[in-house]
Amino acid sequence: MSAVISIREISKSYGELKALHDTSFQVEEGAVFGLIGPDGAGKTTLFRILATLILPDTGQATIGGLDVVKDYRKLRLKLGYMPGRFSLYQDLTVEENLGFFASVFGTTIRKNYDLIAPIYSQIEPFKSRRAGALSGGMKQKLALCCALIHRPEVLLLDEPGTGVDPVSRQEFWEMLATLKNEGITILVSTPNMDEAALCNKVALIQHGKILAEDQPEGIIQSFKNPLWAVRSENMYQLIKDLRMYDGAADCYAFGEYARLKLHPAPVELTTGDNASGQRQTEAAIKTYLQQKNHQKIEMFPAKATIEDCFIDLVSA
């Protein structure tokens, strides 16, 4: 597997704001690579640099061997780019939008119909509807079709899930999986940590810096602290009390349970293989919480998620 996208020490500042800080990573051919981070982390800046729309201050990036600064004209033919806001003409119909982008790239809908068919067939019944009147999910599908219509080698999708309901979002990821089979390399950004599992590889980004880059499983495995899920009747008080617990590294809300991150301890006391160690830890925490008058205490060892890793990496 060779690297199709290669980013080396890219930095970019806007005035005093450092949007990107020595960013480097590589995306292999045919991968779905997720760039994951909150708003303002630098995702869009990086996408625009890769899409040849802005110039980096320092550093280098190549896509398919072409430099994003020097060879930008040649590169543009190979890119499919979908910016954060769906770049569609609201006053043109579905078909007119697609037809326009096809002819801009010197091709036709018919020529590449097979590639977009699985996606386009879902919106084809509405092909004479204006793009502005489509739902978020349908706009997203149309925008993806428009970005694909010239059979790009690399697809850059900047936050494709914004403004789209969870159902359409799931469908969208399923579509990306089928595109991967066509050999298209996909770089996709998202602020949703739980979408990391749908990528082959991810990079976590915050304040313009890459915090970690690996397969989702690899990132999760690098999380070394024992982690527990705890709940009681008064969640807010529970979180406050657990933070004061001797041995707690951090505690925060996470869905219906609070996450308790403990300091790494000798093996026999962790959540690892040693069941008696776990029981000991559980008993100690429960006793502590009972002293604090917590009712209906429930707890079990938890498996870290990407979001836990992100929080861990940011607070480190």
Binding site: G37, P38, D39, G40, A41, S135, G136, G163, V164, D165, P166, V167, Q170, P191, M193, D194, Q206, M235, Y236, I239, Y252, A253, F254, G255, E256, E307, F310, I311, V314, S315
Partner: protein
Amino acid sequence: MVISTEKLSKKFGAFTAVDAITFEVDQGEIFGFLGANGAGKTTALRMLTGLLTPSSGKASVAGYDVWKQPEMVKRRIGYMSQKFSLYEDLTIKENIRLFGGIYGLSSAQIKSKTNELLDKLGLHTEAEKLVGSLPLGWKQKLAFSVALIHEPKIVFLDEPTSGVDPITRRQFWELIYQAAQSGVTLMVTTHYMEEAEYCDRISMMVDGKIQALDTPGNLKKTFQAKDMDEVFRKLARGS
């Protein structure tokens, strides 16, 4: 009961944005309003805050009828939306003073509130900075605190954590918990399903209707789902 609605509806021309919703919210409750974009969350919130007149139905907020006494309602509620929170070209202090003044606080009250608020957020050194220069997460936390400045009984939050990083989002929720513990009722819209778990009760809106309303635990049981995301998917697909 601080909020109660009965068959509250809003029509825009032929389009029914909110379709006969009925629910009640108790004091100190964190009540979540969930739904996809365009499901009617914002419209419902605007009616309850007296910004939009309902087409039909009844609603009372803090004991006042939103239809007949929208001005009384507005005085007793706080509101924070994802789009407009604070004036970016005013400093933190100026924003606090402005909103304190708007809600009729005396200058002594404003002074003590300002200090209290800056303490709570740890923003004393930034007090003279323009709000526009703050990171998004701080802005949202500040906006929430400002929405509480006149000690309202109910605070409405429209997608307050949209786009905010996971850590700041949790800090924000802790502010929400804090407020709820002091007896404030909070009505929150969000599209993060995991945040739905933080609410005491949740209403799921689909196409202007409340399709489900219960505690997160009960909803998961009813829909035999492992998380709220699945509940939502089952609801949206089932309709």
